[in-house]
């Protein structure tokens, strides 16, 4: 429980950083999130899972970094102050939700319940508060990491983990390509503009 809590605090911090930071730095925060998840899986004695996460989990942040270098980040929808308040509020509400449903889950999984609820909340904050297509992608990748953690806490098989990681990379690559082409055609990766091209 202490291990989960210790790692969980780091994961929440890294995920929260994605809310505030610009695209490039947010990609590095995701990299840190993935590396710490790989370390956690290693601590849990799943060498194959840790190896997979470490080897393949590095790719999405790298792809996002390369894409960020070829595009220009749109002006954020909210100020840093608003996002800070939003993040603290999200974490608090997620903890409250976890507290309310805690009795429905095994006692030995209390820390996991809190960590997952908070990561879920932060992922949604990222998806709902950002304009940049890359930030939306980062939100989706936080959600995918929740899947990885669930696998690590369950009786995870390497095959499922392998498929998950491969498809995460492919999804990242597809969205990154769309973002680069969008930028070349419309000079923006602002999702609110890209979905209203019809006018």
């Amino acid at each position: 429980m202490e291990t989960v809590l210790a790692f969980g605090i780091f994961w929440v911090i890294f995920a929260s950083l994605i809310v505030f930071l610009r695209d490039k730095w947010a990609a590095l925060a995701l990299l840190a999130l993935n590396v710490t998840i790989a370390a956690f899986i290693l601590v849990e004695n799943d060498l194959v899972g840790a190896g997979l996460k470490a080897a393949i989990g590095v790719l999405p942040p790298v792809i996002i970094l390369l894409t960020a270098a070829r595009t220009r980040e749109p002006t954020p929808r909210f100020s840093v102050a608003t996002l800070t308040v939003g993040t603290f509020l999200t974490i608090a509400l997620s903890c409250l939700a976890a507290f309310l449903v805690q009795s429905q889950f095994p006692v030995e999984r209390t820390a996991e319940t809190y960590v997952l609820f908070v990561l879920f909340g932060v992922a949604f904050l990222v998806i709902s508060s950002q304009r940049s297509v890359l930030k939306l992608l980062l939100g989706i990748l936080i959600l995918e990491n929740i899947g990885t953690l669930l696998l690590a806490w369950g009786t995870g098989t390497a095959l499922f983990a392998l498929f998950t990681e491969i498809f995460v990379v492919l999804i990242t690559l597809t969205i990154a390509i769309i973002a680069v082409i969008d930028f070349a055609e419309y000079d923006t990766i602002d999702s609110s503009k890209l979905i209203k091209l019809r006018g």
Binding site: V133, L136, L143, L150, T155, T157, L159, F163, I171, Y186
Partner: protein, 468 residues
């Protein structure tokens, strides 16, 4: 079990097409012939019931594939074959990726519906999503708007599906859907909601439907037709299988699904009525159809699921027929705006008849195929009791604007003329466009007049799904 291997043919042909991609005409013919071989072998196996070796059986079972669900895989292959031949006439410069990706989507969809393994299922769903995203942006320009919306919303949906599948895997301790035991009801509730959001996004239920009009509107028509009729139906079938594999499905979840279904039908029908663009009109009508299928899931009884699965199969045929008719109109007139059409009934009588049959079948008018499945769903709603008779009446009322919309569009496109009284000029239509329309129209009629064989199949299937 041998029949399962015919599903691999589209994937093999996709690889061949990828190598032939420099010659798009050759690629188109190879794709068409490959799909036809797959469809013919499938049909032959279906009726001849070829016995397989033990080795092949165990190999398919190890890959998590079951022959029990072939009734849904069959129309996927048949519709896929028509779509491939239709593409030959519709897509002029297919480029390198069109046919390989189209065949991958067809193969992945057909295999996903018979998959009984969570890992295989997840892989196939993701392959389908990624291939679709690339096919949507196949045409540049405004298609990127659709592609951006599609990939972002569907990736979020995929994340929910992934979490649901992992929760199932972790809770049941197995990835084999057939071996699921019992788990606490709160876990079932959580998984059900994740599944509903994840697969609901793929099906296009309200409020996760916003990608549907743009994607169907901007994709090449064969792709829109396959997505609206077949991929949507296959996703709904997968939702049914996963939801009811967890025994028991919770009443609160079913009621929530029913209300969401009515919302979906209402939004789809009303929005369809207001559309000026033929493809967007069909996109909203497909949202309405998704709602009807979802309502069957919400009722949750064996009879309702049988009706729902029949509606899925019907929808594959009817919706594809309507999209292909619209494709024929676009090819012949170069127009999609409903108000700019008119008087086409004399110039395109086969297409007019096909559109009318498809529209009436989708509206549930007897004796066409849609009537039988919609009647089964409504009957199951009345039989279930509780809130469901009232909800069934609401469903019936909500489908009325859709019927009115079909009639309005048919009247404007095929009968009404502008002030000059002149119908638009139409160009020659290839047999690759006309023949699929004729066959699908005939199927709509035959499946309505002789539904007994299909009803028997879907009844057995629904009993099997509910663990009977």
């Amino acid at each position: 079990m041998y029949i399962i291997y015919t599903l691999i043919i589209p994937l093999v042909v996709a690889v061949i097409c990828a190598f032939l991609s420099r010659n798009s005409k050759m690629c188109a013919y190879v794709a068409g012939v490959g799909m036809t071989i797959s469809a013919v072998l499938f049909t032959a196996d279906w009726y001849i019931s070829t016995s397989a070796t033990t080795y092949l059986d165990s190999a398919a079972a190890a890959a998590g594939l079951s022959s029990s669900w072939l009734i849904v895989a069959y129309p996927v292959i048949i519709i896929g074959t028509f779509i491939t031949w239709f593409s030959l006439a519709y897509i002029k410069n297919a480029g390198r990726i069109y046919y390989p990706l189209l065949l991958v989507i067809i193969g992945a969809t057909a295999t996903a519906v018979i998959s009984t393994n969570l890992v295989t299922l997840y892989a196939l769903l993701e392959i389908g999503t990624l291939s679709t995203a690339i096919l949507v942006m196949y045409r540049r320009g405004r298609a990127f708007e659709a592609a951006t919306k599609f990939i972002i919303l569907n990736s979020i949906g995929s994340s929910f599906t992934l979490i649901a599948l992992i929760l199932m895997f972790v809770s049941y301790g197995t990835s084999d859907i057939a071996s699921f035991g019992s788990i606490p009801s709160n876990t079932i509730l959580l998984i059900s909601l994740f599944l509903l959001i994840g697969l609901g996004t793929k099906i296009g239920i309200v409020p996760m439907h916003s990608w549907v009009p743009d994607t169907y509107g901007e994709s090449p028509i064969p792709v829109s037709a396959f997505l609206a009729g077949t991929v949507k139906g296959a996703s709904a079938f997968i939702l049914i299988r996963l939801l009811f594999a967890m025994h028991p499905a919770l009443d609160v979840v079913l009621l929530f699904i029913s209300v969401t279904a009515l919302l979906t039908v209402g939004v789809g029908a009303i929005m369809a009525y207001t559309q000026k663009d033929l493809k967007r009109f069909l996109a909203y009508s497909s949202i309405e159809q998704a709602g009807i299928i979802l309502f069957a899931i919400g009722i949750g009884s064996s009879a309702a699921l049988a009706g729902g699965i029949f509606q899925i199969v019907n929808n594959m045929v009817m919706k594809t027929l309507l999209f292909l008719c619209v494709g024929a109109i676009v090819v012949a007139t170069k127009k999609r705006d409903i108000d700019s059409l008119g008087g086409l009934v004399t110039k395109m009588p086969i297409v007019a008849a096909g559109f009318l049959i498809g529209a009436l079948a989708l509206s549930g008018i007897p004796p066409l195929s849609g009537f039988v499945s919609e009647y089964m769903i409504l009957q199951a709603g009345f039989q279930k009791g509780g809130y469901y008779p009232a909800l069934s009446v609401v469903l019936l009322v909500l489908t009325l604007p859709m019927f009115a919309a079909y009639i309005k569009v048919f009247q404007r496109a095929f009968f009404a003329t502008d002030g000059s009284g002149e119908a638009p000029d139409v160009s020659y239509l290839s047999i690759y466009i006309i023949i699929p329309i004729i066959i699908l129209s005939v199927l709509c009629v035959l499946m309505g007049i002789f539904p007994t064989a299909i009803i028997e199949q879907v009844n057995n299937l629904s009993i099997a799904i509910l663990g009977g």
